[in-house]
Each structure stands twice: as C-alpha cells, then as structure tokens.
Symmetry: C2
Subunit: 120 residues, 2 copies
DNA sequence: CTAAAACCTCACGTTGACGTCAGAGGCAAG
DNA sequence: CTTGCCTCTGACGTCAACGTGAGGTTTTAG
C-alpha cells in the first residue's frame, strides 16, 4: 500500500508517517519511481508508535526501543529503559488521577449551591 | 514573600512564576519599587496550577477556570468545561494504562529467554 | 558604603511533532 | 493525452511553556 492508504487506515497524517520514517521508527520499501510502499504490518506498527507517543515517549526513545521489539530480544539497558518508562507512566497515571480528583472537587465546589449563589 | 522565596518553596522557576502572572494565572501585589509580593496562599495556587498543567490543561483553559474556583461559583459553561477536561483526563489515564501494559508486554517478550537468545 | 544577590523588563532562543507551501514528477481514467 | 489526484523532497512555520541573556535597579549582608 502507498502512504496515503496507510494514512487513511491509521488516521495518521502523511506528514507524520514521513516523519516517523525520518526518525527511524517506520521502514518502507520504495517503488521504482521512489514512492513509499508499506506492508500490512505497518498498520500495527503505526498504532504502536502512536501509543508510545501518547504515553509520552520521545522519538529518540522509541527509536531505541523498537529494534528490541522487532528482534524480540532486549539488552539489560533496554530492559531498564522499558521499566523506567513504565514507572514514569505509572507516576503520570497517579498524577492524572490526583488532577482528576482535583477537577471533581472543583466541580463539586462550584456547582453545589452555596451561600454565594443561593441568592443570585 | 518575594518571587524567589515562592520559587524555592514551590520548586518552580522564577521565570515560570512570571509567566503564570503573564498568563493571568497568578496575581501579585507590587512593592513600592515594583517587586512582586505574594501571600502564603500563592503556594497552593502554584501547586494547583502545576497540577493542572500536569494534567494537560493549557494556560488558556486554566485561566478560564481558575476564576470559578476563586469565586466558588461556576457557570454552566465552566462546569461543562471542567467535566470535559475530567473526561479527557480519564481517557488519557486509560490510554496510559494500555501503553503501560504494552510496555510490560514488551519487557516480557524481550526478556524471557527464547530461542533467539538461548544460544547466544 | 559597597559588593553581592535578588529583582525588574524586554526580547530572542529552545524543543518536539508535526503543518504547510513550493516546485516537480508519477499514475489511473476518460 | 490531459486532467486531476497522489507522491516526492526540501525547507520554513507553529505552538506552548518556559530558558536565557542583556542591561539596569533594589535589597541585603558585612
């Protein structure tokens, strides 16, 4: 498939896909005329990349970790890296839950009738 | 207290505090010579701002919501806004949990002895 | 009184993940 | 064969939350 098809199927922009290639995250073969061609596995690859981006990993970090996934082998360093990122995500989840509770408090605080608005 | 003290107590840079003021998130009185002065409540205000930033809210959004918190009154619009942000955070938490599980899978997959590394 | 430390206001620099535009070539349909 | 959409490679633009440096004033310690 060509880049436009992949973009449509993954809901990721063409520009982003080229950027992923530029960052070494997504490989492509080229047609005789130089157009990028992708296999079906590219779809899941893009999804994985998106998930990792969404989790706050940088291109550089993803680029360092994807080869391990492809080879299904990890070095002690990459395992440490993966675990570190997982821990960071767990921390972030905890912070988000706190922020969410904070927002809920704000909603309660401001929407529950109180003296300030009872008479407005 | 002056800006340096507030920065020390909140672990937020002086530049950031000035930026918050610029964005309308943090008020200050000024000394005769023009230096910013803060009360003790500023500490919690900064912490709240940090939490909301950490939760992915923009300066603009925070600036729109903080007055409601201060007044302890919310308009239907701001309530909707708060709820929308909370929902967004919940979504993000869910995505992060998926990404975390994905990372754990990657750790398992690459660290468990397998044919590829048993003989290395 | 003086030197260091803290503060002030511009105002430009940084970073990451793309958006966007320019100019040129490629490809299926009628 | 030409129209129209897709793709290519640069390369500059964007946006947010600050960082950083210049040049100058204020406060504080000794």
């Amino acid at each position: 498939m060509r880049i436009g098809d992949l973009a449509t199927r993954t809901q990721v922009s063409v520009r982003a896909l080229r950027y992923y290639e530029e960052q070494g995250l997504l490989a492509s073969t080229r047609s005789r005329s130089g157009q990028r061609l992708y296999g079906d596995t590219a779809i899941n690859r893009v999804r994985l990349i998106q998930q990792l981006y969404g989790a706050g990993l940088s291109s550089k970090t993803i680029a360092e970790l994807l080869p391990c996934v492809d080879a299904k082998v990890s070095t002690p360093e990459s395992r440490e890296r993966l675990a570190a990122e997982r821990d960071r995500i767990n921390t972030q989840i905890a912070e988000l839950m706190i922020a969410r509770d904070r927002l809920n408090d704000m909603i309660d605080l401001t929407s529950r009738p109180n003296p300030k608005c009872d008479y407005v």
